[in-house]
Amino acid sequence: MTDFDAIVVGSGMSGGWSAKELCERGLKVLVLERGPEIKPDRDYVDQLPPWEEKNLDRISQDEIDKHYFKQYPGVAYAVKESNKHFWVKDDDHPYETVEGTEYDWLRGYHTAGRSIMWSRQSYRMGPQDFTANKEEGVAVDWPVRYDAIKPWYDYVEEFAGIAGNRDGLEQLPDGVYQPGFELTDAEKFFKAKIESAFPGRNVIQARVAHLTDPTDEQRKLGRTNCQARNRCHFGCAFKAYFSSLHATLPAAERTGNMTLLHNAIVQSLEYDPESNRLTGVRIVDAETNEHRFYSSRLVFLNASAIASAMILLQSKSRAFPNGLGNSSDQVGRNLMDHISGAGANGIISGFERQKVFGRRPGGIYIPRYANITENDKPYTRGFGYQGSASPVGNAGGQMAGIGRAFKEAHKNPGPWRISIGAFGEQLPNPNNRVTLHPNRTDKWNNPIALFNVNYGENEHTMLQEANKDAAAMLEAAGCTDINSNSVSLTVPGNRIHEMGSARMGNDPNDSVLNKWCQSHDVPNLFVTDGSFMTSAACQNPSISYMAFTARACDYAMKLMQENII
């Protein structure tokens, strides 16, 4: 008899889904969260009015140097004085990079993980994303095609709540959507110009995980409409955007089957060679340093692509001297992110007599066209652009004049500026990896992460071209004052879409997981965070992690019912 039927490691974007799906199927589930509890009444600051923010909501410079020297430069747009408790202190959670390389590991350790700080863009992967590796002879083939995951996208979108438009694009399949956030007139003008000047390119509404027409189930969970406040990085008292905290974990909780344990840092998974099964999970309590063991029939790793890989690498045994489930030597390799740092912005004229009301969560999206509708590119794969057109408004005081005229000029929305920035696909490369640091440990005596990630020629070439394309599109739309600075490729990890460290594949010799996110080596181990991704595509990945997690849980249940695991 085990302590629990299943253990889920991590309570974030995918861990919440594992908890919900397994609890709803009747399993007694222990969810292990390495950080402290987030209590919205105490910890959310979304209702703090701007004039009550301390120091323009800036974290003090000395504090950044001491505690947030990686997190703040990496994600300054979201790390503020009022919400800094959502981000890890770098001195408490160190990591290193191999000399000559850089990596941004941007994290929040607490209930629901980064699902309370994410940017909520939610695009399905398309059919081409699952076949590209095979067609191009890159890495290994995905063991899954779009048709297999499609019903699971439907399932998770219905529950999570995605606002968007059905645009009928094959490469960016439509999903189950609530009404989207309508484009501004300037964006509609831009859309018409682009779609006419560049047949095969489209400008669509961003698809975001915000409620605009909640279902009965969402209302039962206490969730309500997005209020267009744009305070999402501070939490949401309306529970309007999807997070584990307000959607999947409460759904798991209401079954009565979930035990959620905080401050539980997983150190290793315990393996029994005779049965070839995991027997449970060893943890250290982050506050008391007490070591404990919990047994279970099933383990879902949802600790994030980096942490899950590290847990596997730390779980060494005679049977798995290089880390649990790592007979392929692929654990920790093929680490991918998305690439940004190319784009353009410019003034789009003719809308000076207009302004907007409300602050929507997303703007426009230009789905990938490279190597889909245009096949003349000096690189493989492609990118999408995210952006928006909005009034320039208050330029931070940087306009001429003083006195009444200067003061009142801030009421004018001013000219409109459109801005687009690329999110491109990084190719899998086994040399891009995270390993256990050979001799440095954290304060719980766990090895720290050592990163060695470099971009390849395809990434560099792609972003150069994305920069040129962005400027060309703004020119075609008649924009003026176009800024398209030289490409400044983001540091690996900076897009916070880390993935690929325990890839899926058909062959146990060159992949870690099978098509169900199940370990090839150990049948009662599933990994359903970003680790499983065989390639990165260029879409923001969270909705894909959700869909694959739900599908894996369904499969794991079948195996349990058949007593296979």
Binding site: W51, I59, F357
Partner: protein
């Protein structure tokens, strides 16, 4: 027919901005509790920052920079947020601005001071931006601080805490 101010007051009360009513009476402070006794600026620096901020954003039918204590706010910002390098650089910047205006600026009546600052502002935004970067930087901070205040946010920018909806196209 309600006056603009009565309408605004109604709106402010309805969203709990009671302290803003005090702001209209000229006793405003940007919260939370900026330094009433300056800890960063010396008296001459404080006088300069206060005078410049009052000229850049004067009281109109809404509170001005002095009403909301922008200089006290910047004093707090420099004390609590800035590190030693930034503090030194800000002291230097205020010195440069004082030298460019001439410290007798502090003695000038409002109209004369306005004339001097208007001339300097024109140089900073047209002919010699690099030479006047200290002033531009201070102007940016003053403006940010003012529009972060309750009065600046609610009365001037008509900021709404909970819009409740998105309208992409509102005719002005």
């Amino acid at each position: 027919m309600k006056t603009r101010r009565e309408i605004l007051q109604g709106m402010i009360v309805s969203i709990g901005g009671s302290s803003l009513l005090a702001a209209c009476e000229g006793v405003a402070r940007i919260t939370p509790s900026p330094n009433d006794s300056p800890q960063f600026y010396n008296p001459r620096e404080l006088a300069l920052v206060t005078k410049i901020s009052d000229l850049i954003i004067p009281r109109t039918d809404t509170p001005g920079a002095t009403d909301v204590n922008v200089s006290g706010f910047l004093d707090s910002l420099m004390t609590e947020w800035a590190n030693a390098d930034t503090q030194q650089s800000h002291h230097r910047a205020i010195g440069v601005i004082g030298d460019q205006l001439g410290w007798t600026f502090l003695e000038l009546d409002r109209r004369s001071a306005e004339g001097e600052l208007t001339s300097l502002d024109a140089l900073a935004y047209t002919e010699r931006p690099r030479e006047y970067s200290a002033y531009r930087s201070l102007k940016g901070l003053i403006t940010q601080a003012y529009f972060a205040s309750e009065a600046g946010k609610l009365l001037e920018q008509e900021w709404v805490a909970v819009p409740g909806r998105w309208d992409p196209s509102v005719e002005i």
